[in-house]
Every structure is written in C-alpha cells, then in structure tokens.
C-alpha cells in the first residue's frame, strides 16, 4: 500500500499509456475472447429477464388498451393469411421453375439461398452516440462476426462482436456503417451510410451515386455485390429524396430502410458467410437440398 501511494501518479500515467496502446491494438476487434465471454455470460441472462419483464408489462398494458382492435386485426390477418397461402403456392411453383432456369444460366452462385436463424433483441447500447444492440444468440449457436442481420424483410445490419451466448449487432443506421448498394431498376451503384442526424427521421444516406445515374424517388435500393460481407440483392429501402452534390459532382439520396429499428424485438441472422470472393459457389447444397 505504501508503494502504491508513493508512485500513484506514475502508475496512473503508465496505465493511461497502456490503455492507449490497447485501443490501438484492439482497433479491429481483436479483443480477448475469454474476458468478453465471462462478462456476457453474466449480463446476457439478466438482460433477457429484463426484456422479458418489459414485454410482459407492455403486453398487459396493450392488452387492456386495444382488445377490440386486436379482434378486428385478427380477422383481417386471417383473411390475408388465406390469400398469402394461395400466393405462396403459386410462388413455390414459380420458384421451382426459376430454379430450373437458374441451373441453366448458372446463376445460383450469384444469388444464393439464405439460411437464417432467429434471435431476440435483449439489450441496447446506453450510449447516445451509437445504435448498436445485443441479441441473445452467440458463438454457442454458431454465430460469427460479420454475419448479416435481417429484420422486417430488409437489411438490418451486421454482427460486429460475438460472445458465448450473445452478440453485438451494428445496424445500418449506426454512424459507423457503410454498405455497398445499387438501385434495383438500373443497377446504379452507391454507398449506404448511417448518420445520427438522419437516423432521427429513420433515414440513411446513399452517396457516391454517379451524376448521370437515373435515380428517382421510390426507387428500391438493394445490396450490391461490392459489399464484401453482404450477399447481393437484399432489400435495403426506398428512396425518399434525391439531391445533387455540387462539389463532388455526384448525387446523393435519402433512403428509408425497410427494416425497423426503433422497437426491434426479433431479428434474423444469416448464417452463411459471404466474405469470400463472389465467384465461389457458397450455396450449392442450399439450392439442391430441397
């Protein structure tokens, strides 16, 4: 203790320097797995309990609030369900046909079938600068870093950190994210960027669009095959506004994502990885299996 108080200042400065070094070393997510796992092993179950309690409480409140509405909604949903079943049957037929054509054209490698597992959102980053959240599946369930996360039928984000029983997801509205994207109609490429300012209105930015590109409001934006970890052809959102950037002589657009971010309960994690070269046939078994 005497030693500690004598050299307090120099020890403090030493730790500060050591920490700055750690920041530099772990910059690309190379933090010690063992310690990470211990922490998440303790926190994840509690987070799950709290979210469960929350759901229960809000569920009770909502139950009382709109029982009539629910009954009506139930009826309409039933009707819709019937309709969707019929449509699905048709689509299945078309898909079979499509697969036959795909085999002919050798396209199966380009738009592979996705294997997904569901996960529950159990915690949010309490930091006001970042929109990351925690899901209740981890390395135990076979998740790895850079896996793609979907929600609401569109691209939600990617996994940036995995623990034993949970993982951290960075959504596309987070300020640090950039995703290669293109318009579905003409294939004009650009980059989807998260931005704090825009995420308040539930939008993301698409920039680096060619000045002569034909991009209009309501155009559908999908992931391009430039996006390294993202499989091509996943819906991101729809254009709400197109603007021209005088300085870079390029266009940029505001895009409303299909995925929900404000009140997420569950997400889908794509368990195939797309980090390898786009030529590699990742889903030969996926396409032939059924």
């Amino acid at each position: 203790m005497d030693f500690l108080s004598k050299y307090k200042r120099s020890i403090f400065i030493l730790i500060v320097i050591a920490l700055i070094a750690t920041i530099a070393i772990t910059q690309n997510n190379r933090s010690p797995v063992f310690i990470n796992n211990i922490v998440s092993y303790i926190t994840a179950p509690f987070q799950k309990i709290f979210v469960g309690l929350e759901d229960w409480a809000f569920g009770k409140i909502n139950n009382i609030k709109n029982r009539d509405e629910m009954a009506m909604e139930n009826d309409t949903l039933k009707e819709e369900n019937e309709l969707l079943k019929i449509k699905l049957n048709r689509l299945e037929m078309i898909e079979k046909e499509n697969e036959a054509y795909k085999a002919l054209l050798e396209l199966s490698g380009k738009y592979p079938e996705l294997n997904v597992i569901g996960a529950e959102v159990i915690g949010y980053n309490s930091n006001n600068w970042s929109r990351t959240f925690i899901i209740d599946k981890g390395t135990k369930h076979g998740l790895k870093e850079n896996m793609v996360v979907l929600s609401g039928g569109g691209l939600c984000g990617k996994i940036t950190k995995t623990f034993y029983n949970s993982s951290l997801v960075t959504p596309i509205i987070d300020d640090s994210v950039s995703v290669g994207a293109e318009t579905k109609r003409w294939g004009n490429t650009g980059f989807i960027r998260g931005d704090i300012k825009l995420s308040e209105q539930g939008l993301v930015l698409m920039n680096n669009i060619d000045i002569e590109a034909e991009i209009l409001v309501n155009d559908e934006i999908v992931t391009s095959n430039l996006g390294e970890i993202y499989p091509p052809g996943i819906v991101i959102g729809h254009v709400t506004e197109v603007k021209e950037d005088g300085i870079d002589s390029a266009k940029y657009a505001y895009v409303k994502p299909v995925a929900q971010f404000s009140n997420l309960k569950t997400v889908l994690v794509v368990t195939d990885r797309f980090e390898m070269a786009p030529d590699e046939e990742t889903s030969a078994e996926g396409a032939d299996g059924e």
Binding site: L4, S5, K8, F12, I15, V16, L19, I20, T22, I23, A24, T26, Q27, N29, S31, P32, I35, N36, V39, S40, I42, T43, F46, Q47, F50, V51, E54, I122, G123, Y124, N125, S126, N127, N128, W129, S130, T132, I134, T160, K161, L168, D175, S176, I196, K197, E200
Partner: protein, 170 residues
C-alpha cells in the same frame, strides 16, 4: 466485500442502462448513469480506488459495446482519478459539489467521445452534436445526480459502518 458490492453496483448499472433506460429517454436521449456513479464513488473514496472503479466501469462498457477495447476504460479512469483527488475533506451532505463535478465529467466524457469517434471520421457539425446530444444529456444527468448520489452515499455508508465494526472486534 467492498469490491464485491461495487462490482454488483456497476453490473446492475450496465444491465439496467442497456435494457430499461430507453423507456425513460427524453427526446431520444438517455442519461449516462455510469458517470454519475463513478463521480459519486470518487467523492466518497480515495483517488486510487475511484480510478480503479472508473477503469472497471469503462472496461465493462468496452467489452459489451465498443469496437476497440480501452477507450471507455481510459476516460472513466481519468474521471475517477481527477474527481477523487482534491475533494477528500468536503462535507458529504453537500450536493452542489457532486452536481458541478458530474456536469464537468459528463461534458469531458461526451466531448472526448465525440472527438475520438466522430471528429476523426470528419463529422464536423459540432453545433448539431452539441445541441442534440451533449447538452440534453448534461441536463438529464444533472437531474439524476442527487438521487443516484444518494443511493451511492447510502451504500458507501453501510459499507463503512460494517468495516469499522469489524475493526473494533479485533
């Protein structure tokens, strides 16, 4: 015992703030209770101890949420060290000093976070980030200072009582 209780406080804090705090967010801004807890401990204990508390509080945040390990640990440790330093003999029931220290610490933390995570990526719109994130959070933290400080004060008091009674035994 002391370390264990402090660890439990930090754990409860991070679990609560990552689950239920988004329901008490005002205009989408959540309070940063970690800073309040670190500064409160700093006022009640020595600077070495509060630097350690800050370090572990930040490390928890780093492990669960951050890309690079160490930034939060560094910032919270600095806050703990400097807030624990010159105020060893202040009157503990006084609320004005904790309030000002927490405001200062919150501002320091958020500004350092902005510089390292946003300014370095050439997000230059300082005014927007100030008015939309930092200032609301300052207000919210000021609002929560007294209740949280009260809780930490009581925890610390019961711990100290236990320790002195143990010392009398021997």
């Amino acid at each position: 015992m002391r370390g264990f209780i402090t660890a439990v406080v930090l754990m409860v804090n991070i679990i609560l703030s990552s689950t239920v705090f988004r329901h008490i967010a005002i205009f989408g801004i959540m309070p940063n209770t970690t800073i309040i807890i670190v500064v409160s401990f700093a006022l009640l204990r020595s600077d070495t101890e509060s630097a350690a508390i800050g370090f572990f509080a930040g490390l928890l945040q780093d492990i669960l949420f951050a890309d690079a390990l160490g930034l939060n640990a560094l910032l919270y440790m600095v806050i703990g060290y400097f807030c624990g330093k010159p105020f060893r003999d202040f009157y503990r029931e006084n609320y004005l000093l904790p309030l000002f220290l927490i405001l200062g610490a919150t501002f320091f933390f958020e500004f350092a976070y902005y510089v390292t995570n946003f300014l370095f990526r050439s997000r230059l719109d300082i005014l927007y980030y100030f008015s939309r994130i930092i200032v609301p959070e300052l207000f919210y933290n000021a609002l929560l200072t007294i209740p949280v400080y009260r809780i930490i004060y009581n925890i610390n008091k019961s711990l100290e009582k236990k320790e002195t009674s143990k010392r009398k035994l021997f």
